[in-house]
Amino acid sequence: MESKRKWAGASALTVTLLLSACGGGGPGSSGGDFTGGKLVLAVLNDQSGVYKDASGPNSVKAVKMAVADYQKKYGDKAVVKKIEVTSTDHQNKPDIANTKAGELYERGGADVILDVPTSSAALAVANQAKNHKKLFLDVSAATTALTGAQCNKYTFQWAYNTHLLATGTGATVTRNGGKKWTIIYPDYEFGQNMTKSFTAAVEKAGGTVQETIPTPFPNENFATFLTKAGSGNPDVIGTMQAGGDLINLVKQFNESGLKDKGVELAVGLMLINDIHSLGVEQFAGTLFTDPWYWNMDAEARAWADRFLAETGARPSFEHAGNYSAALQYLEAVQAAGTDDADAVVAKLEGKKVNDVFLRNGEIRAQDHSVVHDANLARVKKPADVKEDWDYEEIVTKIPAAEGFPPAEASGCSMTS
């Protein structure tokens, strides 16, 4: 019935499926065995909405760069000659992400799905990966649920999570003298998790969180919240807003005069594209955690130059994360000699990695969190900017062991 159905729907299908239907063997038998005779890396992300700049089409290009590098490295020794990179737009809608992921695994011949921004979409795709027993390498979604309560054997979280953002910024700023905190957060899952993690990190570092202020989402008017936050005379106002709301808040923070009173602004999640589109003036002095910065060392910079030539922009950490995830996936396929998901997972688990993106990296077997060193960054003053995209000054390194929660605390159980 299974194959009959596929034949009947042949008009919509490609050669891939015909090959998979009569290719024989099937996953499981090892030794140069690839479904459809090829490897398909499917990038599923937001190509049209708010996450388009931070990841979007340029993440597809980053993945293609990884494929090119893999082919260059192994040449004739590559276990698979034909590698396809496909791109799908989930339009920032979780139900489309969910359907598309299923379709990519079942009909698009996808061996792995990459990226998938926003937590709701990523969690849905993780469920699809589990049901289809195919790989999902999350790069852009930050929820710890992916490596915690809702973790599964086929899902990896590559670049960062809310815990990293919180401990990095919260603990370091507190140690540098920002003892009294007030946190403003959007009142939904991401904001609440971030606030919990921040509070824990600040208190562990010897500071206090005197007040946490929930805000609606989306929201344009933060003046009242900032007045409230400023009334407690904190050293630092931490904001967990993202995207347009973050810009609203930063503009109104600058307007409010709190900066002149010596109140610092620490941001939970910010991408270099936010700074690029708004100009450094607005953000100057802001502290935030950047899992990876294109100008942090020579190796990163060399890759960023290639990326610039390819796309006309400098990469965000999400672009670099997609490159790294694709590259390490290909390495694991090379080692396994097959695209069989279980075999590839076995090669990935526990591997220690160093590449353009991952410093001191480890693909943890227990919870599939890919841990690595990150950075605490400060936005430069306009006068210090030497070239386009030169916006960040690295304040300090956040070691992997400190930034990511210990695997035992993740609450992940791979057996289910």
């Binding site: 729907g9 799908t88 737009d89 339009q91 359907t99 079942e106 609440q192």
Partner: protein, 361 residues
């Protein structure tokens, strides 16, 4: 089923159809529709096929209000989404077969529609659209804030798909489609029954001339509220199946853009045609599905342009235009045969999607 609203309940109240639909055509269309519904998952990825049928019922349910009662609801996402959540929660916590969960969701949508409908139907036209929008926003915020129950922004993940232990249905969306299809077809049949019942005729007369309906002794508000609740219930059936099919519920189901999408589908198919919703849903879903993998980023550009073009040039919608052409041709032929002028009025529904009066001004 090819009869038009106007023909069934002319404004002058005469119950004499100007044209009678050809029964044979009706049966052919019905058979063709059923075959298409059964064949759909052979040609499309089954969950996409399921989306089409579920959204088709959603659009049809909206048309009961928009096309037959003259009320544009801009807040139907509240019923679609809340039923999706309730169905998902029932399935998750009680493990009952999914049709039970879906019915539970639909019942909840109807209960929710009672107070909303009671308040909203006191206004018509533009005001009604805005009031329903405001209520839908409230429901959205509840779904968004009550994250212990709904999962908030993350959505309700991992909704099970129980079906009497039949593993094929529970795991394979191809078989699930056939298990869920009867629920949606029942919804469509119910919609057809509603608009063709005496109750439906009263609705149309309210749409065409509210003061007159009132003068005839009908409790106009009660009829409108009942139509609202019934429409919400059918919307709930569709939303519940949608949730179980996706095995999760996203907060976007409650968002006002979902209300906008379904209005688009109804308008695209043809207001007051009932079955136009099927065409609208089919076009909308397949277009979105195609564009997602096409590498073309500006999906709203196309959606918006289609909307503008349809409203400007094809106000009858796809189904309405085809039906109109068909009727005109048939009438001409009949007129030629009998040499008697019978077709006089242009299709009035093209000028008034809703009531002729009641613009809220």
């Amino acid at each position: 089923m090819t009869q038009s609203v106007i023909i069934e309940a002319p404004a002058d109240g005469a119950d004499v159809p100007v044209t009678a639909s050809h029964p044979r055509v009706r049966w052919i269309l019905l058979a063709a529709g059923l075959v298409a519904a059964l064949a759909l998952p052979w040609f499309l990825y089954p969950p996409v096929a399921m989306d089409i049928v579920a959204l088709a019922l959603f659009a049809i349910a909206l048309d009961i209000l928009l096309g037959y009662t003259g009320l544009l609801s801009f807040g139907h996402a509240a019923f679609w989404g809340s039923s999706a959540y309730v169905s998902g929660l029932i399935a998750t916590h009680y493990g009952v077969p999914f049709p039970v969960a879906v019915v539970g969701g639909a019942v909840f949508a109807m209960i929710l529609a009672l107070p909303i409908g009671y308040v909203s139907v006191r206004r018509s036209g533009i005001y009604f659209a805005m009031v329903t929008l405001a209520f839908a926003q409230m429901v959205y915020f509840v779904g968004y804030q009550w994250s212990d129950l709904t999962g908030g922004e993350n959505g309700l993940q991992g909704v099970p798909r129980s079906f009497f232990g039949l593993e094929l249905v529970e795991t394979d969306s191809f078989y699930f489609y056939y298990a869920a299809l009867p629920i949606l077809l029942f919804g469509m049949w119910a919609a057809w029954r509603i608009v063709h019942s005496p109750f439906g005729r009263v609705l149309v007369s309210i749409r065409d001339n509210t003061p007159r309906a009132r003068a005839l002794g009908y409790d106009v508000d009660k009829y409108k509220a009942l139509a609202f609740v019934l429409s919400a219930g059918l919307t709930g059936l569709a939303g519940g199946v949608f949730a179980i099919s996706h095995r999760f519920v996203a907060l976007t189901e409650l968002h006002w853009t979902t209300s906008g999408d379904v209005v688009l589908m109804t308008v695209l198919g043809g207001i007051g045609t009932l079955w136009g919703g099927i065409v609208g849903a089919f076009l909308n879903v397949t277009l979105a599905d195609y564009l997602a993998s096409s590498g073309f980023g500006g999906i709203d550009l196309i959606t918006g342009s289609v909307f503008v073009l349809v409203v400007l040039l094809f106000r009858r919608g796809v189904w309405g235009t085809v039906r109109h052409q068909w009727n005109v041709r048939r009438l001409r032929r009949a007129a030629a045969r009998r040499a008697a002028p019978s077709y006089s009025s242009p299709d009035r529904s093209s000028r008034h999607p809703a009531s002729g009066e009641g613009t809220g001004r």
